[in-house]
Symmetry: C2
DNA sequence: CCAAAAGTGTTAGAGTTACACCCATGG
DNA sequence: CCATGGGTGTAACTCTAACACTTTTGG
């Protein structure tokens, strides 16, 4: 075999988005075990090498389960990162040696997007610490994880455009139209007048008004709504056009 | 290192689309060297293992160059295929052994989309035979190549929706609006009335009317147009909305 | 009463759809 | 002259954007 061909290690990395109570996008970062590095250098995207009989989608599902304790999370593969230099810093090489007890020459990764309600209990079976981090506060991460995150942002926007319903994975079961508006504004380039947004959303038959309304707000209380996935699947209305 | 982790071979495979004179989408299939198999089993998607210091994008660019002789082709990574069983038929295992002179346990592939004007001269430095094949006449191919092709069709449609201008990679330098219409119809779910399509297209300032018109047609001759990428980049009009 | 946001209504304008009509060409 | 498709015009309709107005709540 020509020596210039190569076999490599393959991992998956997951960018899990959440939407916090200050209307910011957050992502989940895991704390890795890594001695002799300052605490802010111990964060990373959750990920894992793939197992020998495992498809990448299954590996990503496994990583998400080990990360959050949640069985089935929505996920979407979005890109394979394979820059030969993506894991070539001394720290990265040392960490891989310690983590996998093996000298890893080259590693490529398949990146996944996932979405999670930010109030959902996080119950990791693999990591000691898992934290939400606002997207504009993400520290310098190992490997090319910062690059993966910045590309994931472009990707989540496309995802929302092509399938509006996945936005409800980021909201609580019951939500106000204002919450939905602020999430949509954080995710979309399009600027919509909130009044018109309200009118449009409440015209959709898959957005079900509840009897509950907000309490303790210094203005007229907003109604809570829920999303009905079954009705949505029948009509599949795009938000715009 | 835990023995259940694995390192694998990584390849890229390219689905190159063309648009023929009978208004059909075609893809490029390569003839592989494979003794003792009927001719119709010797077709495959063009692809290659990645080299040791090569990113996947570069590998795909190399594959396209070896396939067509063209230096820079538009390309888009669309999915990593990593089913553990994707290369497990006897034929597939035998072919990999002969092709790479090595026993390959597992191989994952990163699939790319590309586009080519069907009249462009194909000048392969690697394959003896490279042929256009109408998309609905694609034979049974090795590995999961048929699956890759069917997913590439969904992907090219999304691509057109998100960036209309790439459609001109499939048309000759000068084209009639009817040609563009038929290509668009082959690629999009949306059904547009051809008169309205004509009006809309000719209103775009990046579609430049030429002085030339069709000859030898049994009806009023249509005008030829060309696409001006520079003007397009400034306005970036979507075809619809 | 005031401020703030909820929620409804109205209107102008932009974009889309359907289709009528005339033009040019080969047979 | 006819059939076929090129190309333009127009009118109805739908969707969107802007914004005025009323409602509700806490302070």
């Amino acid at each position: 075999m020509s020596p210039s061909f190569i076999h490599t290690y393959v991992s998956v990395d997951c960018v899990v988005f959440g939407f916090d109570h200050e209307n910011r996008l957050n992502i989940l970062l895991a704390q890795r075990h890594f001695e002799n590095v300052p605490i802010e250098r111990q964060k990373k995207l959750p990920g894992s090498l793939i197992l020998s009989e495992e498809d990448v989608d299954d590996a990503a599902q496994r990583v998400l389960h080990e990360l959050t304790g949640i069985k089935k999370m929505v996920l979407k593969q979005f890109k394979c990162f394979a820059d030969p230099m993506r894991a070539s810093s001394n720290d990265d090489i040392r960490w891989m040696g310690e983590e996998y007890k093996h000298n890893i020459d080259r590693i490529i990764t398949v990146a996944y997007l996932s979405l999670c309600k930010i109030d959902h209990k996080i119950n990791s079976t693999k990591y000691d610490t898992v934290d939400w981090c606002p997207i504009d506060k993400v520290p310098l991460l190992p490997f090319d994880h910062n690059k993966i995150i910045s590309e994931s942002l472009i990707e989540i926007r496309k995802w929302i455009e092509s399938d509006f319903s996945i936005i409800f994975e980021l909201l609580p079961k019951r939500f106000t139209i204002r919450q939905l508006y602020q999430l949509y504004s954080a995710l979309s380039e399009k600027r919509i007048d909130i009044k018109n947004f309200h009118k449009k959303i409440s015209s959709f038959n898959y957005i079900i008004p509840l009897d509950e309304i907000e309490t303790n707000v210094a203005h007229r209380a907003a109604r809570y709504y829920k999303f009905d996935a079954k009705v949505y699947k029948k009509n599949n209305t795009k938000l715009i056009k």
